[in-house]
């Protein structure tokens, strides 16, 4: 036993605390409502056939349907036909809990639409953030101009302002411009990322001045330097920033909840989760957790793909 065992214990404990909610989320998305309520069935649940009560209720046959079905059941009373039809409906509405949860996730709310909204909003935010942050960071890191240090101090100061503090004025501004319930309301407030400017500025500081001077000698203008020299060398830092930015805005619940008040077509994935919140007709934890899993998965997959590039990039080589 090494003397480091307690360090590993602490780390394992930390990992358990971090992973537990995800474990619950994924596990619930597999289980039937009964298993969730009773807290049984292990990770996967027993996956016994279950009957979707709401589905059966919706197919409860009325008088006309019974009359229409009568020729199929010769010599039976109406009540017997009704029971037979109900049994048929029950058979049609029974399915494995996992299928139930995930199909509900996509049918109960337009989840694909929400996912598309999420991609559109986070994508535009990140793209515009880069377009703004890269030239700003370049100027702050490599150009000499009067007041540069003051401007950078302001950037640092802006890092300290919490979003929630300025949410109300922002909302009022957007409302006065008539922009609430639009994509613009979801995107515009986040397009200038001081964190992005700060992060890229710190990275650009480490780019040798000679490289920029060489570009100038080769005939590149300042903007050409930003996009043709700084951007390609900054890919690793940009990836790091992308992770922060995309995760933050993909998962953001607060801001979309404020500016998207009525139009469900503009819902982002986290807002979609609200569709399953338990109102009068009982809880929908299974489909809700399935939705949550669907929302989180793209981020995890994207991170796993970017991870190699990301870690490669941290040890930036070939510069000198």
């Amino acid at each position: 036993m090494t003397r480091d065992w307690w360090k590993h214990m602490v780390l394992i404990l930390g990992a358990i605390i971090v992973l537990a909610p995800f474990y619950m989320m994924v596990s619930y998305s597999f289980k039937s409502p009964g298993e969730i309520d009773r807290g049984e069935g292990g990770f996967f649940g027993r996956q016994e056939m279950m009957v979707d009560e709401r589905c059966v209720k919706l197919r409860d046959p009325n008088r006309d349907e019974i009359a229409a079905a009568a020729p199929h059941f010769p010599g039976k009373t109406d009540n017997e036909i009704r029971l037979a039809l109900l049994a048929e409906a029950e058979a049609d509405c029974s399915m494995r809990p996992i299928v139930f949860n995930y199909s509900k996730a996509f049918t109960e709310a337009p989840l694909l639409r929400y996912l598309l909204n999420g991609i559109l909003v986070t994508g535009s935010i990140f793209l515009i953030q880069v377009v703004v942050a890269l030239p700003a960071a370049y100027a702050l890191a490599k150009l000499k101009f009067w007041g540069r240090d003051t401007v950078f101090a302001l950037v640092l100061f802006c890092l300290l302002i919490p979003v929630h503090a300025i949410a109300l004025p922002l909302y009022i501004m957007l409302a006065k411009l008539g922009l609430t319930n639009t994509y613009a309301a979801l995107v515009v407030p986040w397009t200038i990322s001081v964190f992005g400017i700060f992060l890229m500025r710190q990275f650009f500081m480490s780019v040798p001045d000679d490289l920029i001077d060489a570009a100038r000698m080769d005939g590149l203008g300042e903007f050409a330097i930003v996009w043709r020299v700084m951007l390609p060398t900054a890919i690793p830092a940009l990836l790091a920033f992308a992770i922060f930015s995309i995760v933050a805005h993909w998962n953001d619940y607060f801001w979309p909840r404020i500016v998207v008040t009525g139009n469900r077509d503009l819902f982002t994935p986290p807002l979609g989760l609200r569709e399953f919140k338990g109102d009068g007709d009982g809880s929908f934890f299974g489909p809700m957790m399935a939705t949550a899993t669907v929302i989180v998965t793209p981020l995890i997959v994207a991170f796993l793909i970017a991870q190699r590039r990301f870690i490669e990039g941290i040890t930036l080589s070939g510069m000198k």
Binding site: P208, D210, M217, L220, T233
Partner: protein
């Protein structure tokens, strides 16, 4: 190719004045080295010529045009940086092509992907590819064209940086210590290659270095800079044999020149009480210094001007440098001896030293060269 004129350039950073009124004319096709210790302002001067730094005063003229306020990219100069400054994300061929792409293609033709289908783009791309191939052939890096800078050795990167500079025909080439990151052997080799390249291209070269050997071996003229001033700008042999300033004499030459104090009484000069066969003007300062190159000093037994003990000996094979601790003076002097004299130079051996009066360089107390010194007929060293 063009002639360059630097007129009274000054540069101050805050309160410190880095360049104090530099003027220098560089002829078309000339190879001029700016040499000096670190912090003497030579790199700043080069950057001002390049347009990467703004001078506080003065003018830069290229081919008769004032370019002082012209941007670096519009001055038509090429520069090779100490760190090579290759674009890490581009291949060698792309690196070399950048200056041509930026100068011959328009903005739409340079766009990624769609740029290729723009009218005229493919013809230009072919021309550029040919120019890149030609430059690569000249520098013998044609096999490396598909590699990224990260996959190259220091010497190869240096060649790519040179290739990027010479792929077009600039008014002048500026080189900022391009050899200082190479190992000693490669440096010697590249040194002669750059000198040959200069002869072949017949282009104007401005070469910044702190290494006086590089400056001596490659240049048509050397501008020795110190403290933000050019002390002397002359061909290498003049700078070595006939320096204007004691600082020039000390900086140029390895091992360093020996500096010894001399006194003037009437017209005669005395070194440690011995009269030298040199006469000065009566208005010369009373305390003077003489500079003696190691090869000017020779071992002698008869009537030596100085005596001392061998303190250290460096045998380079073809020649020997010996440090002699003088009896008359606290310092040591370095002499150059031939291998045949090695037996006289065992450690601790007593030796006598002499020199020809014409080889002695006389400097005033402030380091300025005194040229009105005459050698008298009977020279002591000739007796040896």
């Amino acid at each position: 190719m063009a002639q360059l004129a630097i007129n009274n350039i000054t540069k101050t950073f805050g309160d410190t004045s880095v360049l104090k009124g530099i003027s220098l004319d560089i002829q078309d096709g000339e190879f001029v080295s700016l040499v000096g210790p670190s912090g003497c302002g030579k790199s700043t001067l080069l950057r001002i010529i390049a347009g990467l730094e703004e001078p506080s005063g003065g003018h830069i003229m290229i081919a008769g045009t004032d370019v002082t306020s012209t941007r670096a990219s519009d001055r038509n100069l090429s520069m090779v940086f100490q760190s090579y400054a290759l674009y890490p994300h581009l291949t060698v061929a792309e690196n070399i092509a950048v200056p041509l792409r930026m100068r011959t293609m328009n903005a739409t033709q340079r766009l990624p992907l769609i740029g290729r289908v723009m009218p005229g783009a493919s013809d230009k791309a072919k021309e550029i590819a040919q120019a890149v191939q030609h430059a690569a052939n000249v520098l013998e890096i044609d096999l490396l064209l598909d590699r990224k800078p990260g996959q190259l050795s220091g010497g190869q990167r240096q060649r790519v940086a040179l290739g990027r500079a010479l792929v077009r025909e600039p008014a002048a080439f500026l080189l900022d210590e391009p050899l200082s990151n190479l190992d000693a052997k490669l440096r010697v080799q590249t040194r002669s290659e750059i000198a040959e390249l200069h002869r072949r291209l017949n282009a104007t070269f401005i070469y910044v270095t702190h290494d006086q050997v590089e400056a001596m071996t490659m240049s048509d003229r050397i501008a020795v800079m110190m403290g933000g001033e050019i002390l002397q700008c002359a061909p290498p042999e003049v700078v070595y044999d006939d320096p204007d300033d004691i600082r020039v004499a000390e900086f140029i030459g390895s091992p360093k020149i020996n500096i010894l104090p001399v006194e003037r009484t009437e017209r005669d000069l005395f070194l440690f009480g011995q009269r030298l066969p040199l006469t000065a003007k009566l208005d010369a300062p009373a305390l003077l210094q003489i500079g003696l190159r190691p090869e000017a000093l020779r071992l002698t037994k008869t009537a030596p001007l100085m005596t001392g003990q061998v303190a250290h000996c460096e045998n380079l094979g073809s020649e020997i440098f010996a440090q002699i601790a003088l009896d008359e003076h606290t310092g040591r002097v370095v002499i150059k001896a031939t291998p045949e004299e090695r037996h006289k130079l065992s450690l601790g051996a007593k030796v006598g030293l002499g020199f020809a009066a014409t080889d002695a360089l006389v400097f005033g107390p402030k380091g300025k060269r005194l040229r009105d010194i005459e050698a008298t007929a009977c020279s002591v060293s000739e007796v040896a």
